[in-house]
């Protein structure tokens, strides 16, 4: 209780304000990002479950054995079956290739099917499935065949009646094969269609869902008992790319928030140091009056714990508010409503607060408890000196611990830690140089400026620290604020004005000539038309993919996913051979393949290597004849893997092409869609706009996280001002006693902070220019033009912000009557 009372009394004195502010900002930065990533992750999980229409999905080319369903039922796990195949359905004379799904009751186990009585409407959710003899067909299928509700559809040898319009099903997927119109039937009607014959391409899926633990246990059982050729997918696997992307974005945002946390650590350390200096006498007195060391330690621990709890509460509230605001700003990026955040980030915030205090405030506070009582008689006596290791060890450990926790990868941890050391060294050197340059100017300025600049030079270490910390906050904001917006614009401007702006996919092989003629008749400028089939790579140089140790996530991705394959006799002008040779007419029919550089590098493929594929169930082994550098932003059809003509020609597939259409020509696309209903049209301009919107929103998220960095920089400034307050008060009193007016002293203080802000701004602008240059030329590989606004905003903004903050923090010092200061005998 005594400790709490003392804390309350300390709190009233305002000594702990900066410490609490710094810690709250650190917690806010961490929890804000934590809440955001937590909610987005949960939303992706939810979406992934919907994509699977289940928690677990077992896929196979063969019918599932029934005992797995029995086992699921025994374990209390719900199950459902889906069989899917592509076939042509008829409505009278009209026919259309459609993706048929025969589903059992319970489908879908996750997500909902939407149906309607009218095509092209939003529809409503249903828990039912089509009854026997019924079919739910989607709007496109109905439009293509001219059928409507009540119409009979011939599917194989059966005729089923359309009873609902299928608006959407959760497991629609984005693969090109899923782009065919959809229909759902009851799985009891499937045998009657007689579509399932030896050799027919039917995909079977078993869906399972239930309690998390039960599903996890069932997954283990299923993995051990599944048949060869059966593939098990869970939520993680359902959307590996988006999970990776969110994980990466989350780690980047956490790293960004770590910059704020590190600056806050400095503010916390400075505040704690001042607190200790100010409390040496008090602790000595308490010991003289009978306080034991244990009591003073307890007081310190309890005070720190209370501060940590308070900072966690304030910081988490701010973090949650910022996250809510961010999600509001980012709305549209997520398809669904985001689930509520979990409490995990709160625990994380508290943990971080305790860690920061333990690393940066506890060592000086422990020192404080060691001050001898004798100090009440001899003020020159302080606490016994501590080992450097004990003084700085915890701080270094906490920083390394925080970095390790955020990056969770040894190599990145080492890179970030080394980067931090270099960054600190460069900033310190730059800060030192700036302070000494400013120091030389003081002979040529008036008395107030001379006093202000002299202060900067005299408190050199503190000045450099403030310039570096505040400069860092401003720098990251400048890089993001002024560089990101221009990058996409620059890139878009660099593209030729008549670059293709529409992609057409799923063009039926027999209609491709007609399709291109149609486009050209509308005035469209078409590009090459390439066939497309899907295949999975199985071996490289005769070794199964699964046994190869692949470097990097991209290699894994390339090796695991089904690839789009094509063949062509001619090399496009947007492709350049970098190794091997392109095929000639003599190579037609030879199993040769040309590989794009990205693909070759990720999978370590060279000319002469053999690659084996599974294409529509047929094995094919081809030799790498060449490696191509592809100019992807030509917006012409391009593939990672291109085969020589005559190898895959027999395989059924569809075609794709791209074209440039002026806005007035684009109106004919409606006609085109009607005439070629199976063809999917992608508007590149729309996609680019979406990319731009997403980039803007992502930048906003990062900027708001870095805004914390700026605030953290400000707390360092406040901590430094607080640390020098007694000295400033004394100097101000001396100056005023010597006859300086309040105005001169005030101007001196403003001059000091204005110079500090100018220097921090200059450092930030220089850093942002260099950072922007590297970002543009090295990472994004686009030309970089120096933006003068960086300097204007950096220098002027920095000067204004620091001058105002510094003046607010010190004005009480200037306004205090000199006699009061000299009387209190501060040294």
């Amino acid at each position: 209780m005594l400790a709490l009372r003392l804390l309350l009394r300390e709190w009233r004195s305002g000594e702990l304000g900066v410490l609490l502010a710094a810690l709250s900002i650190a917690v806010a930065a961490l929890t804000g990002v934590g809440f955001l990533v937590d909610r987005i992750d949960a939303a992706i999980d939810l979406q992934a479950r919907e994509v699977l229409a289940a928690d677990l999905r077992l896929r196979s080319r063969n019918p599932m054995v029934s005992h797995i369903f029995d086992e699921a039922a025994r374990r209390g796990v719900a199950s459902a079956r889906v069989a899917s195949l592509l076939t042509v359905v008829f409505h009278g004379e009209q026919s259309q290739l459609a993706n048929i799904r025969a589903v059992s009751s319970g489908y879908p186990l996750r997500g909902r099917v939407r149906i309607s009585s009218q095509p092209f409407t939003a529809g409503h959710e249903t828990r039912a499935i089509p009854g026997r003899g019924e079919v739910w067909a989607d709007s496109r299928l109905l439009a293509a065949t001219g059928a409507q509700i009540g119409s009979p559809l011939s599917i194989g040898t059966a005729t089923l009646k359309v009873t609902q319009v299928l608006i959407s099903r959760p497991d629609q997927g984005g693969a090109f094969s899923d782009l065919a119109p959809n229909l759902i039937i009851n799985d009891a009607d499937l045998p009657g269609t007689q579509l399932i014959q030896p050799g027919s391409r039917v995909g079977y899926a078993a869906l399972f869902a239930g309690d998390k633990a039960m599903v996890a246990a069932f997954k283990t059982w299923l993995a051990a008992n599944k048949q060869p050729g059966e593939r098990l997918m869970d939520v993680e696997e359902a959307s590996p790319q988006i999970h990776t992307a969110v994980d990466r974005a989350g780690r980047f945002l956490s790293l960004a928030s770590l910059v704020s946390v590190l600056l806050c650590c400095i503010a916390v350390a400075m505040s704690a140091r001042r607190y200790v200096q100010r409390h040496l006498d008090v602790v000595a007195l308490m010991k003289t009056l009978g306080a034991t060391r244990r009591l003073t330690l307890t007081v310190s621990y309890l005070q720190l714990l209370c501060i940590a709890l308070l900072a966690t509460a304030i910081g988490s509230l701010v973090g949650f508010g910022v996250q809510e605001w961010l999600l509001h700003a980012l709305r549209g990026l997520f398809a669904t409503e985001l689930p509520a955040a979990s409490a995990a980030p709160l625990a994380l915030g508290l943990l971080a607060a305790v860690a920061v205090l333990s690393g940066f405030a506890l060592p000086p506070l422990l020192q404080l408890s060691r001050v001898p009582a004798l100090r009440v008689l001899r003020r020159d006596i302080g606490p016994p000196p501590t080992l450097v290791l004990l003084a700085f060890g915890p701080a270094v450990l906490v920083i390394l611990g925080l970095i390790a926790w955020v990056v969770r990868e040894l190599r990145l941890f080492l890179q970030v830690s080394a980067g931090l050391v270099v960054f600190i060294a460069v900033l310190t050197l730059a800060g030192l140089a700036l302070v000494s340059v400013a120091g030389r100017l003081r002979t040529s300025v008036g008395v107030s400026w001379r006093y202000g600049i002299a202060n900067l030079s005299r408190r050199r270490a503190e000045s450099v620290l403030q310039i570096a910390c505040f400069g860092t906050g401003l720098m990251v904001l400048l890089v993001l604020g002024l560089v990101h917006g221009d990058l996409l614009d620059d890139w878009r401007r660099a593209l030729p004005v008549d670059a293709p702006n529409y992609f057409f996919i799923n063009i039926p092989a027999d209609k491709r000539v007609e399709f291109v003629q149609f486009l050209q008749a509308q005035g469209g400028r078409t590009t090459r038309v390439l066939p497309m089939i899907r295949g999975r790579m199985t071996q490289i140089r005769g070794r199964p993919i699964a046994t190869l140790a692949l470097q990097g996530e991209r290699g894994e991705e390339f090796s695991q996913r089904e690839q789009n394959l094509t063949w062509t006799p001619t090399l496009g002008d947007d492709n350049a051979i970098v190794a091997g040779r392109w095929w000639t007419a003599n190579d037609t029919g030879k199993p040769l393949v040309s590989v794009a550089t990205e693909y070759a590098e990720s999978l370590n493929i060279h000319v002469g290597d053999t690659l084996s594929f599974d294409i529509a169930g047929e094995p094919l082994t081809a030799t790498v004849a060449s490696i191509r550098k592809v100019k992807w932003d030509s917006f012409q059809p391009n593939f990672f893997l291109v085969f020589a003509p005559g190898v895959l020609d027999e395989t059924a597939g569809s075609y794709l092409t791209s074209a440039f259409l002026r806005p007035e020509q684009a109106r004919s696309l409606a006609q085109l869609a009607k005439r070629f209903p199976g063809v999917s049209i992608f508007d590149i301009d729309d996609m680019l706009t979406q990319v731009r919107t997403m980039a803007d929103k992502a930048a906003l998220a990062v900027q708001s996280v870095f805004l914390f960095t700026l605030f953290a920089g400000l707390t360092v400034l406040l901590a430094a001002v607080q640390a020098s307050r007694d000295q400033r008060r004394f100097e101000s009193a001396i100056l005023r006693t010597l006859g300086a007016s309040r105005r001169v002293v005030a101007l001196g203080v403003i001059a000091e902070f204005l110079t500090l802000g100018l220097l921090a701004g200059a450092l930030a602008a220089a850093g942002a220019s260099i950072g922007g240059y590297f970002l543009a030329t090295r990472v994004l590989q686009i030309p970089y033009t120096l933006d003068q606004r960086v300097w204007l905003v950096g220098v002027l903004g920095g000067a204004a912000l620091v001058a105002i903050s510094g003046w607010i923090a010190t004005r009480s010092v200037v306004h205090q009557p000199p006699l009061a200061t000299l009387r209190t005998n501060y040294q």
Binding site: R5, V282, K287, L289, G290, T292, A373, L374, V376, L377
Partner: protein
């Protein structure tokens, strides 16, 4: 109280035996207090006089258990101080010892009342606020209880320090140049107040000063020179 004082008068409350304090210096070991032996009886008032550097403040620090002697023994209120560790000495001080310092040593963040409450809170005394207010009233500052040290004059601050020193009714009160930071008139008033309280509470007073007039108010004067009692 006077009767209690008379009863205790013959008991020894503070005893030092061959007390020596040496510190190391660039010129070799320096003896600040040299084989000092003394005995002070309960209720007695003793002044330790001497020039600056004579070792009187160091002697006071040793007697109060604020510092460790290099050799020798101190018995304070029946307990051998030299056998206690730092925390043990602190606990003994909390129960039996009061202090008044030259530079007042009030905690700036605490009000006058809270400063006086502090020693009571450290011993876990109940009704600390009431006792502290009573003590403040006895030094004439009952109406300034909510004021912070910076809002009080030097004399008032020292009166708060006196209220704090006497609030626990200590067996021994150590005063280190209690009027040293005050002007003559204020110093005189503070000294008056100190001796008044001392006689009212029956506390043993050990006063370190270089002021002859203040020392003469004490029943006994001990003089120090070069670390020895002379």
């Amino acid at each position: 109280m006077p009767s209690a004082q008379a009863q205790n008068h013959r008991e020894s409350v503070l005893k030092a035996e061959a007390l020596t304090k040496q510190v190391s210096s660039p010129e070799g070991p320096l003896t600040i207090v040299n084989a000092v032996s003394l005995e002070i009886m309960a209720g007695e008032s003793v002044a330790i006089l001497g020039e600056s550097g004579a070792g009187k403040s160091t002697l006071l620090a040793l007697l109060a258990g604020l510092d460790d002697p290099t050799s020798g023994r101190i018995i304070l209120a029946g307990t051998d101080l030299t056998s206690l560790d730092e925390d043990g000495r602190a606990r003994l001080r909390a129960q039996r010892v009061g202090f008044v310092f030259q530079s007042f040593h009030l905690v700036p963040a605490l009000t006058a009342l809270e400063n006086v409450m502090l020693p009571l809170e450290l011993t876990g005394t109940r009704n600390a606020a009431a006792a502290a207010l009573d003590s403040l009233t006895r030094v004439g500052l009952g109406l300034r209880a909510r004021h912070y040290p910076r809002q009080l004059s030097g004399g008032e601050q020292q009166r708060v320090a006196l209220a704090r020193a006497f609030v626990t009714q200590p067996a021994v009160l150590f005063a280190d140049e209690p009027t040293g930071n005050l002007d003559a008139v204020t110093g005189e008033r503070i000294a008056e107040r100190l001796f008044e309280l001392n006689s009212a509470v029956g506390t043993t007073l050990v006063l370190v000063t270089h002021e002859e007039s203040l020392a003469q108010r004490c029943a006994r004067q001990l003089r120090m020179s070069a670390g020895r009692l002379v």
